[in-house]
């Protein structure tokens, strides 16, 4: 593995930046809801001063909304923190399904804006590989970007996780169109992870193969 190439660094920064934009959007939405509910309380208080009694049920509902948004923002910040710490170790044990689910959670707003849903297929048991967690997430994002853009009108993309002799395979399907000549994903990123990516036109699948143990240089 050589994580130090300029191309890999730039791709990683772009991914990190995109995730930060999605996270900040999510936090902004929570703050906006808290802001409006605080404003609503202010409005109701002013109306109460003018003789319209304050309904305790109403204030309870408003407080409940604020609590929900604080919890939502807290979850978002925890995700941001986990993303930040994903760069801590060059190679670490990665639970493939769990990290894939986390990657999809981070990008969920981007998918929903496009009207797309991404699902992870059922898995018999945990699959653990030794790899670079951040680059793994970055590569999933890149491959998904290719699979979904190529998909055009695909509304649900499924990712199946399969073990193989050397490690693990992530199978993205269905692809709307597969162009075997095109390699829009970042080769440097795939090489840094010892990964192979194979598009299959006949089955409309894209297979991402990763080794069980990433060899460092």
């Amino acid at each position: 593995m050589n994580m130090g190439t300029e191309k890999t660094k730039l791709t990683g920064l772009a991914y990190f930046g995109k995730m930060m934009a999605l996270i900040s959007h999510e936090i902004k939405n929570s703050l906006a809801i808290i802001n409006e509910n605080a404003g609503l309380m202010e409005d109701l208080s002013l109306m109460a001063k003018k003789g319209n009694p304050l309904d305790p049920e109403r204030t309870g509902t408003i407080a409940g909304r604020v609590v929900r948004q604080v919890q939502r923002a807290d979850t978002t910040v925890k995700r941001m923190n986990r993303l930040a710490h994903s760069v801590d170790n060059p190679v670490t044990e990665v639970d493939v399904a769990e990290t894939l689910a986390f990657t999809l959670e981070l990008g969920e707003k981007a998918f929903s804006t496009l009207g797309l849903r991404v699902e992870v297929g059922p898995l018999a048991g945990p699959v653990v590989i030794n790899t670079n967690e951040f680059l793994f997430m970055n590569l999933i994002w890149e491959v998904l970007g290719y699979a979904l853009q190529g998909g055009g009108r695909v509304e649900t993309m499924t990712i199946a996780i399969r073990r193989n002799d050397n490690g693990v395979e992530l199978v993205f399907s269905p692809l709307h169109a597969v162009d075997g000549e095109r390699t829009p994903w970042d080769r440097a990123l795939a090489e840094a992870l010892g990964a192979d990516i194979w598009p299959f036109a006949d089955t409309r699948e894209l297979v991402l193969k990763l080794p069980e143990i990433l060899k460092t240089v």
């Binding site: 934009a21 900040s24 959007h25 999510e26 902004k28 939405n29 703050l31 906006a32 809801i33 808290i34 802001n35 409006e36 509910n37 404003g39 609503l40 409005d43 109306m47 909304r65 929900r68 948004q69 707003k109 929903s112 804006t113 009207g115």
Partner: protein, 120 residues
């Protein structure tokens, strides 16, 4: 004055509509483009306040669709964190582009300006 608010954050848009109603605005809200277009087909509005990023159809595309149905309507974009491109697009269209969280008095001012045809 009749205003349609469109935002996929239901708790946000419903609360904002209520606060605008306290200020004399007849405000309706929708949580997606489909709902918004259904309202516009049924009743007249002076101003639409649109979230830029929404599932399936965002505010910029929704504005184009509304203009086909209700050519006289005025528009305001209101978003959590639009991209630089979205912001430039809003400026190009001459639309006010407000960032959440927004001050209600500022929003009222912009809605009044839009309704008077000075912006949007």
């Amino acid at each position: 004055m009749r205003v349609l608010l469109v935002d996929d954050e239901v708790e946000y848009v419903a609360t904002l509509a209520e606060r605008l109603s306290f200020r004399g605005v007849e405000a309706r809200w929708a949580s997606n483009a489909k709902e918004a277009l259904a309202y516009i087909n049924q009743e007249p509005f002076d101003v639409a306040v649109l979230d830029v990023k929404m599932p399936k159809m965002g505010g910029i595309e929704l504005k184009r669709r509304i203009e086909e149905i209700a050519p006289g309507m005025r528009f305001i974009y209101l978003t959590g964190h639009g991209s630089e491109d979205d912001y430039k697009k809003g400026i190009t269209d001459g639309i006010s582009y407000l960032i959440k969280p927004v001050d209600i008095d500022q929003l009222m001012k912009v809605i009044n300006q839009a309704a008077a045809g000075r912006i949007g």
